[in-house]
Symmetry: C2
Subunit: 499 residues, 2 copies
């Protein structure tokens, strides 16, 4: 059942499965909600991690909870794997289809069911876009805090699957801290509701277990999200450094000063120059590194905090510190940061965005190591990341038409993640494991934890039909990976088509 550990299913098996499941699904869904011809399936073959792609066997687009239940029951009865998909913006291949499975797309379930501005809770369906939640809350002076950079497109269901973060998660937490309650459907069609509107909920905290479970446990059909009051005042300070390690140390200094910024982002020379060339954000192009530090709150507290931040940054060795003089300049500073990925993308035929975390104190050492690896792999690497929570996003630049470069990019990425683990960090900050980092999970969890994860999954999904082959490697696969890892430099997933 593990898509990573077996060869792809042969066409005859796929055809046989399709012949079994389609008639059952036709009893549940209208023709426009059910796709099973190759040309209709093509748009679904990949999520945001384009190198990993597969044609799904069938795509189902339910519009109601009852339809979700019926589709899942049919798949369970016929032993057909199910991969749930939101907007398909995920960056770790978590929604990569199964060639012999149903891709369950939830884009038709995007309603707002309720908005209680007094309790500050919004009840939504999973397909709603992240930005649409804040849009709906704005008239009440409220907003939804988690803001992944794909927020215009990505869906709340996907955010829950990946436990998405964003620029503001240092202060306001990840998705898990902002979802109060979720109603899910298991592969057997059972409806379960976990969490509550209270701070604590009795029983085991399966709500937290569901958030970040990468579609491997159950399908979210409704969620109650916490809304926060929009801050009265927001200010941002930009600090330019003539040395990367000094900027890394400054991050620790800010947090050590007792300030929790609403956002604390870092760009290295390559990224800030790319961003500046791309859209004139006003960045000093001489700088080796740039920090953007945002504080929010009421008038008095922001005034005091921005003064403190500026003083700490200067003392920590910033050559220039500039507080945006108004909202327009603040937005310009952020525009550069938010478009740094596409800006870097313009400089290279392809780039590979990594996502690992390290304790803040390790920033100077790890940044140096990543920089030094450039020579080893013969590839450039830019760094644009959530410095405040130690969440790195190295962008490895390569040319996908050059097989050697693509392979070296994958190896470079893998070494970055292993380095993160060696420095007490993790192999993903907010993008999830998916198919991309399934091997690195063996590095992250060398002990009995993986078996515990499998047991936990089995408590929801006894047949192993929910998103098989993602996020949690089999123990066999880890043994095999250790072997590969020592003896040669194979691609993580040679069995998958790349580009």
């Amino acid at each position: 059942m593990n898509a990573m550990t077996q060869d792809l299913l042969d066409q005859a098996t796929i055809d046989e499965r399709r012949a079994r499941i389609v008639p059952r699904l036709q009893l549940i869904l209208t023709p426009s909600q059910l796709k099973h011809k190759d040309e209709d399936l093509r748009p679904f073959e990949t999520d945001g991690l384009a190198p990993y792609r597969r044609l799904p066997m069938v795509v189902a687009l339910p519009a109601t909870k009852a339809e979700v239940i019926a589709v899942l029951k049919a798949c369970y009865a016929e032993d057909i794997p199910v991969v749930t998909r939101g907007a398909g913006t995920g960056l770790s291949g978590g929604a990569m289809p199964h060639e012999g499975g149903v891709l369950l797309s939830l884009t038709k379930m995007s309603a707002i069911k309720a908005l209680d501005p007094v309790a500050r809770v919004i009840t939504v369906e999973p397909g709603i876009r992240n930005a649409a939640v804040t849009q709906a809350a704005a008239p009440y002076g409220l907003y939804y805090a988690p803001d992944p950079s794909s927020q215009i497109a990505c869906s709340i269901g996907g955010n829950i699957a990946e436990n998405s973060g964003g620029v503001h998660c240092l202060k306001y937490g990840l998705t898990v801290h902002n979802v109060m309650q979720a109603t899910v459907i298991t592969i057997e069609g059972e409806e379960l509701s976990f969490g509550s509107q209270a701070l604590d909920t009795e029983g085991f905290d399966l709500m937290a277990g569901l958030v970040g479970s990468e579609g491997m446990l159950a399908v979210v059909v409704e969620a109650k999200l916490k809304l926060l009051p929009t801050p009265t005042v927001t200010k941002v300070a930009m600090a330019a450094f003539d040395d990367l390690a000094t900027a890394g140390r400054a991050v620790g200094e800010i947090v050590a000063a007792g300030i929790i910024p609403a956002g604390l982002e870092m760009m290295d020379k390559f990224s800030l120059q790319a961003a500046e060339n791309f859209l004139n954000a006003g960045y000093p192009t001489w700088a080796e590194a740039l920090l953007l530090c945002e504080v929010d709150g009421n008038e008095a507290e922001v005034a005091e905090h921005i003064a403190d931040v500026s003083a700490v940054l200067t003392k920590a060795g910033a050559v220039e510190v500039k507080v945006a003089r108004d909202d327009a300049e603040r937005e310009l500073f952020w525009k550069g940061r938010k478009n740094a990925f596409p800006a870097v993308g313009q400089m290279s035929p392809d780039y590979y965005c990594m996502d690992g975390t390290i304790p803040r104190g390790e920033l100077p050492a790890v940044l140096k190591k990543i920089e030094d690896m450039q020579q080893k792999y013969g590839l450039r690497c830019a760094n644009v990341f959530h410095a405040g929570d130690g969440n790195l996003h190295p962008l490895i630049m390569f040319d996908g038409n050059d097989a050697g470069e693509a392979e070296r990019a994958a190896q470079y990425g893998s070494e970055i993640l292993t380095t993160c683990v060696e420095h007490g960090g993790t192999i993903t900050g907010e993008h999830g494991v998916g198919v991309e980092k399934i091997h690195e999970m063996c590095v992250q969890f060398p002990g009995a934890e993986l078996q515990q994860f499998h047991d936990f999954k089995a408590a929801f999904d006894d047949k192993g039909l929910m998103n098989p082959g993602k996020a949690i490697p089999t123990l066999n696969r880890c043994a095999e990976f250790g072997h590969m890892h020592v003896h040669n430099g194979e691609l993580p997933h040679p069995e998958l088509e790349r580009f």
Copy 2:
């Protein structure tokens, strides 16, 4: 195996089990670490929920992780239930012993293993007292936020088991928000480590599943806790109301104004008078209700917030608003609140402390209902509680020597919890379910969630040996309870000795 659904084991069975397990444990523990004679077992027969008591079969006091592993392996091999116990201050009977089981007391494992003031992480053993963590962190200008009122005595292991809160959890979260990593031992002796020092951790979030699991999954042997910088300035406003419902509405107004107080506590007339008589906190005894609202942060933000809070309270109908003029007066205000339970205790031979939550907006309605129930049950009920997070602590006063009163107190408590659920709340805010509220779990989870909880538990504890009979009722028991509930007014646990 479920202590709630079966008669107590007979003495012959207990003796036979004890004869099997004691020799095995003698190979692991010194004589002072192993108690199995009735007179030595007596001090362990109850936790903080005194009505529920049982003599454990054996008490084991391991001093190292290796000893914990060996004890659990022995119990697993001999099919002996294990109840883990911290300081025994729990208020829901979660650590009530099993008459045929080993009580695993972790008081000898109370070391601080590491304190990193830069990363703001402290690594501790489970038996350390909550207050000792903050004491150790204080020299670095840091503290541990969760502060249950038992913090002088209660242990971090117990806090993790119960997901403890406290006065400050509205702003700083519960235990689950302040534990970064936990190392646990399963009943099979397997060591597992969940969580990380990063915001997100890959794999399923079993860390959150462990917090609040009431000793039913595994034994915590080490935890990394988040430390916070001690706020520079703290101020408290006291508001007196001539009407309980108005005070309830004022709570909503404060939060609606965008202020997140560090603490927002409420006392009704009975409690504030009791507290005032007990230790002259300076409370206006004419008031029908009192709110204490604390704000913390830097100088400027506290000045602005305390002014805002005072204005909101006045506008919301407070007759008198008084900001403590200095730290001495602030501590006096809090002293009254913190000693309100014993103060109320002085007014009655016995009292029963309830713990339910409701959405803040429901406070006025639910407070009124609880007040009205006094007449129905012929008992007085005082209210002292964490108003900001809607976490009620009604104190039902009764005379334990009068069987009728004790029974009515239990029924009164049960009706309060059912009322909380009806108003969209939960049956516990921070005390846990334990044995006390196991029946109300049937009300809270009428659907398939309970079965999911059992499946989840089985993924850790296939034989069901960890704290059997607590927190998660069997489905049979719920069916039976529904029957009881409809047909008569029996005590929740007639099979248990009371007092």
